[in-house]
C-alpha cells in the first residue's frame, strides 16, 4: 500500500479536478474531458513503452494515431458498391503489384551480393513498379472519386462492427512501425526523432490526399458507434423511466402535468448525452485497465528487465547475448500499435475522421509532454501525464481568462491591452504546457511519478 501512496494521492487529485469541472461547469464537459484524458493516456502509454522501457524516441505518434483513425473508416463504414465496381478491381491489382514489388526486392536483396548492380536492380524494380501503379490506379482513382463525390467518392469500408477496428488500428500502426523501424531504428536518438516525425508527416499527407481511400480532407462523418445514439435513447421507455426515477424528487415538486412533461424531456435530453459518454468512458476505461495490467506485467517480467538493461547499457546487454536490433524493433512495433489503438478510439469517440486535423503540435509534441511530465518508464505516471496534461490543455483557456481578468481588473473594460489579452486567452495553453515541461525537465526530470525498480 505504502509503495503506491504517491500514485493514489496523484490520482485522487486528478479525479477531484475532473469532479470540480463537473460541479462548476457541467457533467457533460467533465465526462468528455475524462474520455479524452483516457485516450491521451493510451497514447502516452504507447509512447512510454518506447521511450520509458527502451529509450527509443518516436516523434511519429501523429502518423500512428492517424492510421488508427483510418482503420475505423476502413473497418466500420459500409462499402460503396458503385465505387468498387468503378475501380475496385484495379485497386486490388495495385495491392498485388505492391506485394510483388516488395517480394522481388527482398529476393534481389537476398540473392545478389551487396554491389552497385544490386542497387540498380532495386531501383529498377521500384521505378517499373511505380509506373505500373500509376497506369493501373490512375483511371481507377478518377472513377472512384467520381462516384457521388459529395457523399462518398471513396471505396468505403468493410461494414464491420466498430470495436473490431480498434484491433485493426493496432495492427495497421504496428505494420507501419515495422517498416519505419527497419528504416530508421539504426539512427542516433535525435536523428531518429526527426526521421520518425518526417515519416509520420508523409503518412498523414498520403491519408490527406488519397481521396479514394478515406475521402481525404473531405472528411468522413457519421461513423458507427459502439454505444447507443442519443436520439434513440430519448425515445426508449426504460431510459425515460430511469431518468424519471432519478429525478422523482425534483419532478414531484412540479404541479402542472404539461410543465412536468417539459422538464422531463429536457432532463432526458441531458441524461442521454451523459449516458452515451458514460458508456464510452466504460469502454475506454476497460482498455486503459487492460493495457495497464499487461504493461505492468511486462515491465516486471524478465522481458522488462531485459529491455531496461538494453536501455541503460546497450553494449553490456549486447555482450550478454541480447539481440538489440530485434528487441528495439519489437518494442517499436508494440508501442506504435498501442498508439494506433488510441487513434482508433479517438475517431470512434468523435464519430468523424478528419485527416486535416492531424498536426504534429497536437499529436506528437503534446503527447511527448505527457510522457515527460507523467514519468518516463512508469505506466501509472504515463496515465497520470495523459490525464493531467490533457486537462491543462482543455482548461488552460478558462484558467488564463480568469487570471487575466484578475490581474487587469484595475484597468477599464475598454483598455486595449486588456482586450488584446482576453482575445488571446486560448494561446495561453501553449505557454502553460511549455513552462510546465521546462519546469518538470529542470526540477523533476524523472516526471511526477518516477520510474520504480522493484528488486526481486
Amino acid at each position: 500500500m505504502k509503495k503506491y501512496l504517491n500514485v493514489i494521492v496523484a490520482y485522487s487529485i486528478m479525479l477531484a479536478l475532473i469532479i470540480l469541472v463537473g460541479i462548476f461547469q457541467s457533467w457533460s464537459i467533465a465526462l468528455s474531458i475524462f474520455n479524452y484524458c483516457m485516450i491521451s493516456a493510451v497514447m502516452t502509454m504507447g509512447a512510454n513503452i518506447q521511450w520509458g522501457y527502451a529509450g527509443l524516441i518516436n516523434f511519429g505518434i501523429m502518423g500512428y494515431a492517424a492510421l488508427g483513425g483510418l482503420a475505423v473508416v476502413l473497418v466500420s463504414v459500409a462499402p460503396v458498391p458503385e465505387a468498387w465496381e468503378a475501380g475496385g478491381l484495379n485497386m486490388m491489382v495495385c495491392i498485388l503489384v505492391i506485394a510483388a514489388m516488395v517480394f522481388s526486392i527482398r529476393y534481389v536483396l537476398k540473392k545478389i551480393q551487396k554491389s552497385k548492380k544490386r542497387n540498380y536492380f532495386v531501383a529498377g524494380i521500384i521505378i517499373v513498379g511505380l509506373i505500373l501503379l500509376r497506369m493501373i490506379s490512375g483511371p481507377a482513382i478518377e472513377n472512384i472519386e467520381a462516384v457521388n463525390p459529395a457523399k462518398t467518392g471513396f471505396l468505403g469500408g468493410l461494414g464491420m462492427p466498430v470495436l473490431f477496428s480498434w484491433i485493426v488500428g493496432g495492427f495497421l500502426a504496428g505494420g507501419l512501425a515495422y517498416v519505419v523501424g527497419k528504416i530508421a531504428l539504426g539512427l542516433r536518438a535525435d536523428y531518429l526523432a526527426i526521421a520518425t516525425l518526417l515519416i509520420a508527416e508523409i503518412v498523414v499527407s498520403v491519408i490527406k490526399h488519397e481521396d479514394w481511400l478515406a475521402r481525404g480532407v473531405k472528411n468522413v462523418i457519421g461513423l458507427k458507434r459502439p454505444v447507443p445514439y442519443e436520439v434513440d435513447l430519448q425515445s426508449t421507455p426504460w431510459f425515460i423511466n430511469l431518468v424519471e426515477k432519478f429525478n422523482s424528487g425534483k419532478l414531484n415538486l412540479i404541479k402542472s402535468v404539461a410543465e412536468k412533461q417539459e422538464v422531463l424531456k429536457q432532463l432526458v435530453i441531458d441524461a442521454s448525452s451523459i449516458y452515451v459518454k458514460l458508456c464510452m468512458a466504460g469502454l475506454f476505461l476497460s482498455v486503459v485497465v487492460a493495457l495497464l495490467i499487461i504493461t505492468q506485467k511486462a515491465l516486471y517480467s524478465p522481458w522488462g528487465r531485459k529491455m531496461r538493461a538494453i536501455r541503460d547499457n546497450e553494449e553490456a546487454a549486447s555482450a550478454m547475448g541480447k539481440n538489440i536490433v530485434k528487441e528495439h524493433l519489437l518494442i517499436f512495433i508494440l508501442g506504435s500499435a498501442v498508439v494506433g489503438i488510441a487513434g482508433a478510439m479517438m475517431v470512434t469517440n468523435d464519430g468523424l475522421f478528419t485527416p486535416g486535423s492531424y498536426r504534429p503540435m497536437r499529436y506528437t509534441f503534446v503527447i511527448w509532454v505527457m510522457v515527460i511530465v507523467g514519468g518516463t518508464g512508469n505506466n501509472f505516471g504515463a496515465i497520470l501525464g495523459g490525464f493531467f496534461v490533457w486537462f491543462l490543455w482543455v482548461q488552460a483557456a478558462p484558467i488564463a481568462l480568469f487570471l487575466i481578468n484578475l490581474f487587469t481588473s484595475h484597468l477599464p473594460e475598454t483598455n486595449a491591452l486588456r482586450i488584446h489579452l482576453i482575445e488571446s486567452a486560448p494561446y495561453f495553453r501553449f505557454l502553460m504546457i511549455g513552462i510546465g515541461l521546462l519546469v518538470i525537465m529542470r526540477y523533476r526530470p524523472q516526471g511526477i511519478l518516477p520510474e520504480k525498480i522493484i528488486k526481486q
Binding site: 528504416i183 530508421a184 536518438a189 536523428y191 526527426i194 516525425l197 508523409i202 499527407s205 513552462i435
Partner: protein, 336 residues
C-alpha cells in the same frame, strides 16, 4: 525558338522559385546545423525562433510605415531587419541563460536538450501568438516585380513570359551575401576557427584556452542573424503566418540532415537539394514537352510525377532515402 521557350518556361516555374525557396531553407538549415554542431542538440524550436524574429520585423515594418519611413522601391522590412536581429539575439541569449545553459553545464544527453527545446518551442509559440496573433499577414511594400511576363514577351518576342518578383531577387542576393560573410568568418577569422575547434572536439578546445561561454554566445548571435534574415525573407516572399513557420521546421531539418548535419556548407547546399527536389518532382511538365518534342509525340497527360499536394512529402522522402544510403548526409556531417 521552341527550345528557348521551353527553357524560359522551366526557368520561370521551377528554377527561379526553387532558388528562392532553397535560399530560405538554406538559411534555416545552417541555423539548425550550427546549433547542432556547437551546442550538440536538435533544436525543435527552429521554426518558431525564425517566426519570432520575423514577428519583430513585421511589427517594426508597420511602425515605420506609420512614420512614413521607407526604402522607396525596396521593402521597408529590409530596414527593420537589424532591429529585429537585435531583439532576436536578446531573446535567444535569455533563453540560453535560463534554459539551455543548465543542461549544457550538466552535460545532459542530446535527447534531453532536444526535449527542452520542445518546451522552448511551446513557449515561443505562445509568446508569438499572444503578441501578434495567429493570422496571415503580408508586409511587403515597394516594387513587387522586377520583370513582368508581358514586358518580357514584348522584349524578346517569345511565347513564354518570365516573371521575376523583387522578393525573389532580394532573397537570393541577401542569402548569398549573408552566407559568404558567415563562411568567411568561420574559416578565416580566429574567432571562427575557435568555434570550429570547439565543435570538433570540446575538450581539446578547452585545453587550448578557448572560452566556451564566448563560443556559445557567438553561436547564438550568428544563429539569431541567420534565423531572422531567413524568416523575414520567407515572410516577404510568401506571407507571415506563425503556423506555417512551425511547419517549415520540417523541410529545414530535412535540408540540414541531407547536407550532413553539423556541416554548414552541406546545410547550405541541402537547402537547394530539398527545394529543387520538391519543385522538380511536383511540376507538371506537359507544356515543357509540348515545346521540345515534335507535335506527334506531344503528351496528353500532365506529365507530373507527383501531385503538388505531396510537396512536403517529397522533401521528407529525400531525407529518408539519404538516411538509408548515406546516414551522414551527402557531405560528411559533423565537421563545422
Amino acid at each position: 525558338m521552341d527550345f528557348l521557350n521551353a527553357l524560359i518556361l522551366l526557368l520561370n516555374y521551377t528554377i527561379i522559385p526553387a532558388l528562392t525557396y532553397g535560399s530560405q531553407l538554406a538559411l534555416g538549415a545552417i541555423f539548425v546545423t550550427l546549433i547542432y554542431g556547437v551546442l550538440r542538440f536538435a533544436n525543435f524550436a527552429t521554426g518558431d525562433m525564425m517566426s519570432f524574429g520575423t514577428m519583430f520585423a513585421v511589427l517594426l515594418t508597420y511602425y515605420f510605415q506609420s512614420l512614413g519611413i521607407g526604402l522607396g522601391v525596396l521593402p521597408t522590412a529590409l530596414l527593420t531587419i537589424p532591429f529585429a536581429i537585435v531583439m532576436m539575439i536578446l531573446y535567444m541569449l535569455t533563453i540560453d541563460k535560463f534554459v539551455f545553459s543548465y543542461y549544457r553545464i550538466k552535460k545532459s544527453p542530446p535527447v534531453q536538450l532536444a526535449m527542452v527545446s520542445v518546451g522552448v518551442m511551446f513557449v515561443t509559440q505562445a509568446i508569438i501568438r499572444i503578441i501578434i496573433g495567429p493570422f496571415d499577414r503580408r508586409f511587403l511594400d515597394g516594387e513587387k516585380f522586377i520583370l513582368k511576363a508581358m514586358e518580357f514577351k514584348e522584349m524578346t518576342g517569345l511565347n513564354e513570359g518570365l516573371t521575376i518578383k523583387s522578393t525573389q531577387l532580394i532573397t537570393i542576393i541577401v542569402t548569398l551575401i549573408v552566407v559568404s560573410i558567415m563562411f568567411w568568418f568561420l574559416n578565416k577569422t580566429k574567432t571562427g576557427t575557435s568555434m570550429r575547434a570547439y565543435s570538433d572536439n570540446e575538450d581539446l578546445a578547452l585545453l587550448s584556452g578557448i572560452d566556451p561561454k564566448r563560443v556559445v554566445m557567438l553561436t547564438w548571435i550568428i544563429a539569431g542573424v541567420l534565423a531572422t534574415i531567413g524568416g523575414v525573407l520567407y515572410g516577404l516572399d510568401k506571407s507571415y503566418k506563425p503556423f506555417v513557420y512551425f511547419n517549415n521546421m520540417l523541410p529545414i531539418f530535412a535540408a540540414a540532415i541531407v547536407g550532413g548535419i553539423g556541416n554548414p556548407f552541406g546545410a547550405f547546399l541541402g537547402g537547394y537539394v530539398v527545394a529543387f527536389g520538391e519543385i522538380f518532382i511536383t511540376y507538371a511538365y506537359k507544356k515543357f514537352f509540348t515545346y521540345i518534342l515534335p507535335e506527334s509525340l506531344a503528351p496528353d497527360s500532365l506529365m507530373q510525377l507527383l501531385s503538388t499536394d505531396y510537396k512536403f512529402a517529397v522533401s521528407f522522402s529525400i531525407l529518408v532515402i539519404v538516411l538509408l544510403f548515406r546516414p551522414s548526409g551527402i557531405f560528411k556531417g559533423k565537421i563545422l
